[in-house]
Amino acid sequence: MKLNDPLTRYVVRLGDDALIMGHRLSEWMSRAPFLEEDIALSNVALDFVGRARLFYQYAAELMGGEVTEDTFAYQRDVRDFTNLLLCELPRGDFAFTLCRQFLYDAFSLPFTQALCHSTDPQLAAIAAKAEKESRYHLRRSSDWMLRLGDGTQESHERCQNALEQLWIYTDEMFECDDLVNDLVVAGVAVNTSSLRSTWLETVTETLRTATLAVPESQGGVTGGRVGIHTDDLGFILAEMQFMQRAYPGLQW
């Protein structure tokens, strides 16, 4: 599936981030450390899947014809997906999932706040909804950083390890390619490179309170935006797209 229109490509990119993040979170259902967390994690997962649907529905509208939200989720292969690598990493243990979430939420809140000012009214409307969710997500994941970082030695170590593993994937959030830069000039997209200092401030402050160390920068792994993924995304898609691939063209 070839996407040419810059706005559509941008909208699909945001949809991909949300869908893949939602997928990873949904893997926790019936596997959380206690029942309240089954519920809370699925709540957040639902927010992300809901967000993906809004972005994809908008992209489908922009493309017209037979394209629907499901076309983007179920009919594209790994090289067409443009989500951040951070979103697709396997869920790992509870510390890994919550650290990923925290690092992403600390980005997602200022991102959605900025997107509320997009000159594209649809994007601004989706952002307004997403911003409220992100505010809650960040509060929740920050609370978990405190509990796990300042809980037991084991929880502290698990968190610190997770942060070290995740850190190299955070650079990608602030990367702006030509697509973004052009849309920033038009007032449509968010200049994510300008969000880095806010993000780092939030992260540093929370981790400090949680007695966790901010990992040292070792450069960043990127590629998601041009469809160069980790091996893991293919397995997500194989599972997610099974029905549409095995029984194409049917209504469910």
């Binding site: 259902m29 019936s30 959380a32 450390p33 206690f34 029942l35 929880s155």
Partner: protein, 318 residues
């Protein structure tokens, strides 16, 4: 009232309250057997909600459309929420959630046997929502009048959500039946596999039910297993026919005189086999829960340690 004569005075008074349809509340005096009976029933119900997350949850990642995925996620989340209300209701009887989970893991406490069957195709998600949730509603509507207050109130809340689930499940089946031949076959196959286990959900016939008589007297149970099963059959048969599904029971026929459907004999050997641990997925379902709980121990310990530090810090400030 003559059979109350043999009861000690407290029990007599308790039974009169039950007979007068008064609700029993957590702090009220109650016979120990009433308490134990309720703990057994409510915890079995709670465990069923929680174990029930698995057969449906395993299709979240494979749901065929984003809309179906979101609905299924919300549904499984509701089941977890029901488990939570029910554990809370059981806790009002003086038992902790840890003890309840321990009983589940040791096999001392059961959960609905139907969740020991696998969900093999997408149509199973339709069949579970339609049949299993229908059966649950039939049972739970009657429990809205159960004599224990916290249980009755939990049922009112749960029934509202279950009827939404039931409609969603039926909608999946209807969509399949309006689709291609392979989809109709998928739906029929799912009905064939889930029909009899759904009938078994109501438990043994009244004559053979170990806990029924006393539970009815205490109004923990309000309607008998067979009555509830009949109501379910009467409903489900018509729903199946409305969308062109064939109920897999050659003996099924409308009985004009009774005003109900007659249906074939339930295979109680199969029921016993699954209840006693040899269903297709008993081991996996329990192992999955044990594994998640064990793997989560460090998180629960971290929370407790964090709270303890907070308390100490607050005490020092004070």
């Amino acid at each position: 009232m003559s059979d109350n004569m043999s009861l000690v005075p407290n029990e007599q008074k308790f039974q009169s309250r039950i007979d007068a349809e008064e609700k029993v509340e957590p702090k009220d005096w109650m016979p120990e057997k009433y308490r134990q009976n309720l703990i057994r029933q409510i915890s079995q119900h709670a465990h069923s909600e929680v174990i029930g997350e698995q057969p449906e949850g395993n299709w979240i990642s494979r749901a065929p459309t984003l809309e179906r995925k979101a609905i299924l996620m919300a549904k499984v989340q509701d089941e977890a929420g029901h488990g939570l209300y029910l554990y809370a209701a059981a806790e009002t009887l003086g038992i902790t959630r840890d003890e309840l989970i321990d009983r589940l893991h040791t096999g001392a406490s059961k959960y609905a046997s139907i969740f020991n069957y696998p969900s093999l195709t997408w149509a199973d998600i339709g069949a579970i929502g339609w049949l299993v949730d229908s059966a649950a509603i039939v049972n739970q509507v009657s429990l809205q009048n159960t004599s224990y207050g916290p249980y009755a109130r939990a049922m009112v809340k749960i029934c509202k959500e279950e009827s939404f689930h039931q409609r969603q499940g039926y909608n999946i089946m209807m969509t399949l039946m309006q689709g291609a031949e392979l989809q109709r076959d998928m739906a029929q196959d799912a009905l064939n596999r889930w029909w009899w286990p759904s009938l078994m959900m109501f438990g043994p016939h009244d004559a053979e039910s170990a806990h029924s008589a006393q539970s009815m007297k205490w109004k923990i149970k309000r309607r008998s297993n067979d009555e509830l099963r009949q109501q379910f059959v009467d409903q489900a048969v018509q729903q199946a026919q409305a969308i062109g599904l064939v109920v897999p029971d050659p003996d099924l026929s409308w009985n004009e005189e009774r005003g109900h459907y007659d249906f074939g004999a339930i295979d109680w050997q199969e029921f016993q086999r699954v209840v006693s641990g040899n269903g297709p997925c008993n081991r996996q379902r329990l192992a999955h829960h044990v594994e998640a709980h064990t793997e989560g121990a460090w998180v629960r310990e971290a929370m407790a340690a964090f709270e303890a530090k907070r308390r100490t810090a607050r005490a020092e400030v004070a």
